[in-house]
Amino acid sequence: MPGSCSGGKQFWNKGLFGLRKSSWLLWLIPLLFLGFFFLYPLTAIFGLALRTNELGWTSFPWQRVGSILGFTIFQAVLSTLLTVLVGLPAAFLFGRYDFKGKNLIRLLSTLPFILPTVVVAAGFNAIIGPNGLLNLLLMQIWHLDQPPIQILNTLAAILLAHVFYNTAVVIRTVGSSLEQLDPRLEQASRTLGASPWRSFWEVTLPLLRNSLASAALVVFLFDFTSFGVILLMGGPQFATLEVEIYYQTMQLLNLPLAAWLSIIQLGCTLILTVIILHRGGGLPIPVAPRLSHSTNRQIQSWKERLFLVMMMVLLIALLVMPLVALVLRSLTKLDAVRSGNNTIFGFTLQYYRELFINRQQSLFYVPPVEALRNSFFYALAASGLALFFGSLATYALLQKSRWNKFFDPLIMLPMGTSAVTLGLGFIIVFATLPNARDFYPVLIPIAHSLVALPFVVRVLQPALASIPSSLKQVAATLGASPWQVWFSVELPIASRAAAVAGLFAFTISLGEFGATAFLSRPDIPTLPVAIFRFLSQPGSLNYGQALAMATILMALCASVMLVIDRINTINS
């Protein structure tokens, strides 16, 4: 942490549980976890692939790989920029103002995270598809023959879906830093005569650099390794590295090429992480001392009111509409049979009722409540694991040891790993053990927590780094033990970030499908697996049930988030 005080601070940053001089011990546990469950399967699959390597330097499809890499980076950069463009003002709004419906909108904006891409594609289709609500409306208003919005299967659809998925990352990460930011700094600059814009640009924004960089990195990596969105929203003319890895592995079993593509993807992840994280690091955020009243402002001037309205319209249109469309669609009868031009159309609860009936007497029928329960416990375990290993890694990072520059990017690697590659790695390492099936239920949350771990670290790190050592010193001077310092000074400040991190880990686990598909047991399916089963057969009943399941998934997730948000509000 350049530019802040020295000496005593060094001492106090090492203060957790008296673990001074021992940052390697803090690293040891998350690294063991990462090594055993991530690096080991990964190297196993790479080893297998490269032992049979018949790819020569000359036979390597340089041109094809080059153009795929180019497109992957291009769409990821564009998507990240757009996501930050939408997310930053939204984070500002949520972090700085109090207004009616704030919690609800923030909650809804996080929901996309849990939804499988197939369901999201259905949601977008219900609005802007050829027969989507918006298109039908516009066609009626302007008496058009053709739907005016035709962006499905274009780059625009990819960007739209990425913004839809990832805006919440920016809102939550940057928003929570902003909420902790000492408002007196901005007030001071205003008193000294700076315009609101200037004080935002020159005071607030630089202080947010750390968390903004973290958020942008995470968003970029999500976009960079995007798979479902590219396939389902972008259509066949687009391929990212992840899509190509899937194709080379699954369709052709060309493991050597798939392995090289994976290595390129991992390499890019590493390089990018190193650049963003070690570019000098942002300033630690000076947090506000805990005031008894909220530091947030009320909406007052007409400018603020305009800003609020515009942001709400944008967020609702981008993030909430597709969700609402899904819910409506799960309640609407829209059957295949037609009499003349009329479609049978009406309100129905049939799809929900059918979820509870095993009409086909199938062996794999699982009542929705059970799938819900499985998903819930997997997600709980996964977020617990991710938070545990993530906070150890974060504390290790704060020790400023020379190992950090190796280990920090390492932590980010799971995000840059193809689910197909990791899934196959898991299979060849763990599934071949005797009675492997019995511990699949343990491996699933472990796999989920691996995906969530980088995220947890990136959310926790800026928050913990921002706790001023003076606060800890004061507490210690007043006679608090290191444990008390941690409990009564660090924990309350860190709890907000921990809640955000845990929330995302939970939602990542709920929605994860790639790795789960390799480890799922038909008798203990997760909700996304159940949704896919319905969507793989024709018939309006199957489709309706899939959307009903997705709605239930959203409802579950929304209630969990509601609880976490509540706890958080009460705590602070």
């Binding site: 546990i29 598809g129 299967n153 066949p236 052709l252 009868k333 199938s362 062996l363 009675n435 024709p538």
Partner: protein, 347 residues
């Protein structure tokens, strides 16, 4: 604290390495793709008759499941593998993952399905990938239904067909193979060029094609012609929200318009339960299982003694002359065919 964590880590690793030892009936592991489905009752029956517990291991789609079986060949995850189809058969056979087993029931299965003469992979079921059409659309527009692949490039069908990307979709690949069987490896690209000029719509997966683009199902899309399975009309009736007396869709079954997918079962080399595995294969070929197949997986049983459900007889049309290509030929050319298709149709 740290010690406790270390202890629990070691314990966890220990559990994972050793695995739990279990008593009770023998476990028979059956590896398959995730579209596998069966009635609970008949599996229970098999389990009781043989004092065995059947574990179904679902491992993603067909390609994914087969790849996992190949990669774990040295220490197999399962005893039986079901679900490799004729597109991937050659890969399975050259990877040599199956033991031979000449089931006595093979005599009830027509020769045309027994593609593997070495009896390592035994046929279980088949289905035809064809073009389905929205009946209402063609009636309303008073348009005749296309009869051949050639018809599809006629101007009256401009922009009416949606197909799946053969690189990532199984029915998409099957339809590409149908065109290659019909026009030959030299001529199929020319045909696709003309399809493209006739405003062909290509999407990545079956879901999007069927539920978003196709006008005959619940999505109410813009294309009345979709590449899909010939059993879909029956599924549309069975899974309708309102009771239907007539299927809303039907299938084009002209010569060479459909590609036949045959699915196989095999005993994985290295199984410790060879006798049981053989019994399970026999069970899959037996009438009980074969008659359960249609309404669970929406494909046809290969055993000619199995009778079909009423919905299949009433609503499904079958091609008289489905297209086929030898599995070895598919394996040898798959990448090249798909690459050329990508260049012609997408770029």
């Amino acid at each position: 604290m740290i010690k406790k964590i270390m202890n629990s880590m070691v314990l966890l690793g220990f559990i994972l390495l050793i695995g739990c030892t279990k008593s009770g009936p023998t476990q028979l592991n059956v590896m398959t793709h995730d579209s596998f489905a069966v009635s609970e009752a008949i599996i229970k029956e098999f389990e009781q008759a043989n004092d065995v517990k059947v574990n179904i291991i679902m491992s993603g789609d067909t390609g994914s499941a087969l790849n996992q079986a190949i990669l774990t060949k040295a220490s197999p995850i399962a005893d039986v593998f079901y679900g490799v189809d004729n597109t991937f058969l050659s890969r399975a056979l050259s990877a040599d993952i199956f033991d031979t087993y000449s089931s006595p029931i093979l005599k009830d299965i027509p020769d045309q399905f027994q593609l593997d003469k070495s009896t390592r992979a035994l046929p279980v079921d088949y289905g035809d990938v064809c073009i389905n059409y929205d009946k209402a659309y063609f009636t309303e527009k008073k348009l005749t239904v296309p009869q051949t692949l050639d018809d599809l490039i006629k101007p009256e069908y401009r922009g009416l067909l949606v197909v799946e990307n053969p690189a990532v979709s199984s029915p998409g690949l099957a339809f590409l193979l149908a065109t290659i069987a019909n026009y030959g490896p030299e001529g199929y690209l020319n045909y696709w060029q003309q399809l493209r000029a006739n405003n062909l719509v290509v999407v990545n997966d079956w879901n999007t094609a069927y539920y978003t683009n196709f006008s005959g199902s619940t999505g109410k899309g813009l294309q009345p012609l979709v590449v899909s399975y010939n059993t879909d009309p029956a599924a549309e009736v069975i899974f309708a929200s309102e009771k239907l007396n007539e299927a809303p869709t039907a299938t084009l079954v002209g010569p060479d318009m459909c590609f036949r997918q045959i699915e196989f079962v095999g005993i994985l080399k290295g199984t410790h339960h060879l006798a049981l595995a053989k019994k399970f294969v026999d069970f899959m070929l037996s009438r009980t299982f074969q008659e359960d197949i249609p309404l669970k997986m929406f494909v046809y049983p290969v055993n000619s003694s199995a009778s079909l459900p009423a919905e299949f007889i009433k609503f499904v049309q079958n091609p008289e002359k489905p297209a086929s290509i030898a599995p070895e030929k598919i394996a040898a050319n798959l990448d090249a065919w798909i690459m050329q298709w990508r260049k012609t149709v997408l770029e």
